[in-house]
């Protein structure tokens, strides 16, 4: 089977995956999940590091019933489209709840969880997921 997780890749993206550190265009506000010299929206070079907020709203969601490689043990699992205050959207695993508890607009907060486990190599990958907000404030 194909290798989906590689240590150098996990290392490269660690700050994004653990803390949602991003690169934001100072000209148009567009967010990049990778270090960049050029904005993917407006081609500006004025890019700076930023961090997405710890809270977001759910826009919509679904459930993955047939898992891809390295997600066999997790299935079925909820994945959702979330939106931050600045309008940035991400997809992510939604955890600590049942699908019935979710609806558009549900307040979510970021947690760090096990994302997947490469069965053959035993490599475990951690990163951001979201759960219904239980702490206060936004």
């Amino acid at each position: 089977m194909h290798a989906v997780f590689r240590p150098p890749v996990n290392w490269r993206h660690r700050r994004f995956r653990y803390k949602l550190v991003v690169w934001r265009c100072l000209n148009c506000g567009a967010v990049h999940h990778y270090a960049t010299s050029i904005c993917r929206r407006c081609r500006s070079n004025r890019i700076d590091e930023d961090k997405l907020p710890d809270r977001a709203r759910l826009i919509t969601y679904t459930v993955v019933k047939n898992p891809p490689i390295a997600f066999e043990k997790q299935a079925p699992y909820i994945v959702g489209l979330v939106e931050f205050e600045d309008g940035t959207k991400l997809v992510a695993g939604i955890t600590d709840c049942d699908p019935e508890e979710l609806k558009p607009g549900t307040e979510l907060e970021r947690v760090v969880r096990k994302i997947a486990e490469d069965g053959e190599s035993g490599l475990i990958v951690y990163g951001y997921k979201f759960r219904p907000a239980i702490t206060r404030g936004r």
Binding site: V4, T62, P68, I69, V79, L81, A116, V125, K129
Partner: protein, 384 residues
């Protein structure tokens, strides 16, 4: 500007071809082009998406050239995910227009049956932004499911308005000898098939498929020197890209790359949408049928389901979509699919579509997508 013609087409039944390698499939499909003579090819374009992963085989330009007895001829692989076949066709069209080639062979080949079930779920993610989407376990079908849900909610539609498309596709494929799934189905069957990611059901998606299809293109200059049956003019071709993550687009329910590619290809061909009577669309997920038909103006936003229900896209309607069953039922051998679409239009416009024939079709078009519309290719063809 000189013209480009399709002078021959060949396709294999889409199937799980356990006994055959890529080399075998390529040799079989090219054998089906025997009616075109003489065999003088200036350039070869090979479309394939996943051979590097599934068959440990890159460099398919050179590999395929030798497989078909043409070692020496320039040959190249192009990849644009599920639109690889269409991308290879556009490349071949350009090669002829450049004057550097007079005859071009375009081959699409893909063998997905070598994948494990978990890989088959995983591999479509490669066309999305892996570091943003795939690594989170968000499969391409989960993205499609969220677009689907958003569509039903925005236009306040019952699921039937999307889920009926697979029923039409299977009906068409039941008359197509080269289709992967020749059984008919019903809306009830579709809606009671296993849930992949709600609301998306199994019968609204595709399954691993192997296949190969091939076309020979010729310049108008070289046409008199080639012995062939009928020809079709490749009158326009265009492509465009879009923001890759669908929910980053201004409107996730508008496939703007498809819009741009389709109207540019039509304009190059000097045709209006109304003249097109056979249309191949990229329905890798049922919802994409709706979104494509609305993005290229055949239906108002949210209205493609009603239009389909009224027969607008079927025999006797304004345009027949996916007369051989489309990706859903003819099958979706990823990198080869675009070449299948073009070969099927060729069959239609030369009157060789058998039980799938659309009578009186003089013009045909196809739309092929990579991912969920991050790239779109459109080709428009005229009766020769």
């Amino acid at each position: 500007m000189r013209k480009v013609y399709i002078v021959g087409a060949s396709l294999l039944k889409v199937d799980e071809q356990w006994g055959h390698s890529i080399d075998s499939l390529v040799s079989q499909v090219v054998d089906g082009l025997a009616e075109v003579r003489p065999w003088k090819i200036d350039s070869i374009y090979v479309a394939n998406a996943l051979g590097e992963i599934l068959q440990n085989q890159a460099n398919l330009g050179a590999i395929v050239a030798e497989d078909i007895g043409l070692a020496g001829v320039p040959a190249l692989r192009v990849e644009a995910g599920g639109a690889s076949g269409a991308a290879a066709l556009v490349s071949g069209y350009q090669a002829i227009l450049s004057g550097l080639a007079d005859t071009v062979l375009v081959i699409g080949v893909e063998k997905l049956s070598d994948a494990t079930p978990e890989e088959a779920v995983f591999l479509p993610s490669l066309s999305e932004r892996y570091d943003l989407v795939g690594f989170q376990g968000v499969t391409e079908s989960a993205l499609a499911a969220m677009m689907y849900r958003m569509y039903l909610e925005r236009y306040e539609l019952p699921q039937e308005m999307v889920a009926q498309f697979p029923v039409i596709m299977h009906e068409h494929a039941s008359r197509a000898p080269h289709a992967q799934y020749q059984f008919k189905t019903t809306l009830d069957n579709v809606l009671s098939s296993p849930v992949v990611s709600p609301p998306l059901r199994r019968l609204e998606t595709t399954a691993p498929a192997d296949g190969a299809a091939a076309l020979i293109l010729s310049s108008s200059d070289a046409l008199p020197t080639i012995q062939h049956e009928q020809v079709v003019e490749l009158a326009g071709a265009a492509s465009s890209t879009d923001i890759v993550f669908p929910f980053d687009r201004e409107d996730p329910l508008k496939l703007s790359a498809a819009t741009r590619a389709f109207f540019e290809a039509l304009a190059r061909a000097g045709l209006s949408r109304e003249q097109v009577k056979v249309l191949e669309i990229h329905d890798s997920y049922s919802i994409l049928a709706n979104l494509i038909l609305e993005s290229i103006g055949y239906s108002e936003e949210g209205a493609s389901g009603v239009d389909a229900k009224n027969g607008m896209f079927d025999y006797g309607g304004k345009v027949v979509i996916n007369a051989f069953g489309g990706l859903k039922a003819r099958g979706h051998p990823l990198g080869a699919t675009g070449v299948y679409q073009a070969a099927e239009i060729f069959l239609q416009l030369t009157g060789r579509a058998g039980a799938c024939q659309v009578d009186g079709a003089k013009y045909g078009a196809m739309i092929s997508l990579s991912g969920l519309g991050s790239a779109a290719y459109a080709l428009v063809m005229k009766e020769g």
